[in-house]
């Protein structure tokens, strides 16, 4: 059946009228905070205790916006007759957010989990120099880092947990065996079947 002449015009009117009765999509941002998705990239927080000044983040940064200064300190030997060790001490850690392009490579590359994404985004400044956040400010951001989002149902277990669980199970199995064998052969020590290292 050919369309009735003018039905397109009526359809257009219906669309606008229907939209008027629906809820608007406007985000009233300063009055209402936005609901940010998990893993939002707002600002980068620094957990200083984990940083070893390995400089990987600064070297991988495509914008070269991470500034790190450090010096070496000598730690006396832990045991008598041992060797002295040297340790890196962080003097300055700064990220220039006027250069940062929020690629997150520094966070990916950090081998010691010292850098984290925080969803905070309200740190605009009137002076561009203020956008270089020094280590104390980066530390402040650290306290706004949320819990990591829960794993998807059916996801693979995290490696750390899997390793710890395996060790605990092995230990429990060994103790059980020992308890079972104790009355029969008390002189025989509990044998371990597995070759794997127990941490």
């Amino acid at each position: 059946m050919p369309p009735i002449p003018g039905s397109g015009l009526a359809k257009g009117l219906a669309v606008t009228l229907r939209t008027m009765t629906k809820k608007t999509v406007t985000a009233q941002y300063p009055d209402v905070q936005p609901e940010l998705p998990p893993r939002t990239r707002g600002v980068i927080g620094l957990f200083e205790e984990n940083c070893t000044v390995c400089m990987l983040c600064a070297r991988e940064c495509p914008d070269w916006c991470i500034y790190i200064d450090s010096h070496k300190e000598t730690v006396p030997a832990a045991v008598e007759g041992g060797r002295e060790r040297s340790r890196n001490v962080l003097d300055r850690f700064a990220i220039d957010f006027s250069l940062c392009m929020y690629c997150g490579i520094c966070i990916e590359v950090c081998p010691f989990d010292a850098l984290f994404w925080s969803p905070e985004f309200e740190y605009a400044e009137t002076d561009i120099h203020e956008l270089t956040h020094e280590r104390d400010k980066l530390r402040e951001w650290m306290w706004t880092v949320p819990e990591p989002p829960a794993l998807d149902p059916g996801a693979e277990e995290p490696k750390e947990i899997a390793a710890a669980r395996k060790a605990a199970e092995k230990l429990a199995a060994a103790q059980e065996q020992a308890a079972a064998q104790a009355p029969a052969a008390p002189e025989q020590p509990a044998r371990q079947e597995d070759e794997g290292p127990t941490e």
Binding site: L9, T16, T19, T26, Q28
Partner: protein
């Protein structure tokens, strides 16, 4: 002395209506258009849902510098906004909102003639602005306005004539006094033609080629700033009020309605006008702008034949019922 007071009072009331209703329509347009597009519209000015947005806009316009281009025809350029706005004020004087003598600014025997003639003057403001601005976009806009006026004044007059024939009078209160409910289906084609042609005369979307911003900046108003520009905008909204009021009076029976004759007539007039004004906004949100040639085609090949057919129908029925 009493007469002077009476006239002064009527003028003050008409002027107040003239100042308030266009702003109400403008604010409604802000909000309705926003919600039809899934937005909220103004929310801050005045505190409650941005009700004072247009007041704030007015203050802003008043603060702006009033610029006249160096090569412009100074006098004409400065006069044009007034020419665009004042005719609508004059038309408002003649529109009756209730059945009694006191519900109309001034009873004019040749009401339809007066109203349509004066409304035609309003378009002259755009022409003057377009010519006096010394700007090619303004000139193009002005010429488009002229072409639009030529094309759409005719169907408007023809349909108004059809109503005058039906009522046997050209006085606006006279037409309302003669109104019967079955005029509605009888004159419906005329009503649609009148309304559409009126929209085109007001240069409202989808008939806003004279100010098509993507083609000719802002047409005849390109060079205007500050208060004069605001006056042109105000003229557009005053035009909506006047057009909707006229359509109500001529085709929708004005104050006729339940209890219309017992003092609630003005509510009916305002209600019908408001519904039509909503329709104007609705059409603006829904339809894209017509092309210049489509505009002319619509006027000459659709609206004018329809208007002539309406006149023929009116004549036949009029003769048949006598």
């Amino acid at each position: 002395m009493n007469d002077v007071l009476d006239v002064a009072l009527r003028l003050v009331v008409v002027f107040a209506v003239f100042m308030v209703l266009p702003l109400v329509v403008g604010q409604t347009e802000h909000k309705v258009m926003a919600h039809m597009q899934g937005r909220l519209g103004p929310m801050y000015a005045g505190g409650f849902h941005g009700w004072a947005q247009l007041v704030a806009d007015g203050v802003k316009f008043a603060q702006k510098e009033d610029i006249v281009p160096a090569d412009a025809d100074r006098r004409i350029f400065q006069l044009a906004p007034a020419v665009a706005l004042l005719p609508y004020l004059l038309v408002l004087v003649a529109i009756p909102i209730g059945p009694s003598e006191s519900a109309v600014g001034q009873v004019i025997d040749a009401g339809i003639f007066f109203v349509l003639a004066v409304m035609g003057v309003g378009v002259l403001g755009s022409l003057m602005a377009g010519w006096a601005s010394a700007n090619k976009f303004s000139l193009l806009g002005g010429l488009r306005t002229a072409a639009q006026l030529l094309a759409y004044e005719l169907p408007m007059l023809l349909t108004a004539a059809s109503v005058a024939m039906a009522a046997g009078t050209v006085s606006l209160p006279g037409i309302l006094n003669a109104f019967e409910w079955w005029w509605l289906p009888w004159q419906i084609v005329g009503a649609i033609v009148f309304f559409v042609a009126g929209l085109a005369e007001l240069q409202r979307p989808p008939f806003d080629m004279p100010v098509a911003d993507s083609e000719i900046i802002f047409g005849a108003y390109t060079e205007y700033t500050g208060l004069r520009f605001a006056l042109f905008l105000l003229a557009e909204y005053a035009g909506i009020v006047v057009l909707c009021g006229l359509t109500t009076v001529l085709f929708l029976g004005g104050w006729h309605g339940p209890w219309g004759a017992d003092g609630l007539g003005w509510v009916w007039t305002l209600l019908k006008t408001a519904i039509l004004a909503f329709g104007v906004i609705w059409l603006r949100v829904t339809y894209p702008r017509l092309r210049e040639d489509q505009l002319q085609k619509l006027a000459w090949t659709v609206l004018i034949p329809l208007a002539l057919a309406q006149i023929a129908l009116t004549g036949i029925v009029k003769v048949a019922i006598q």
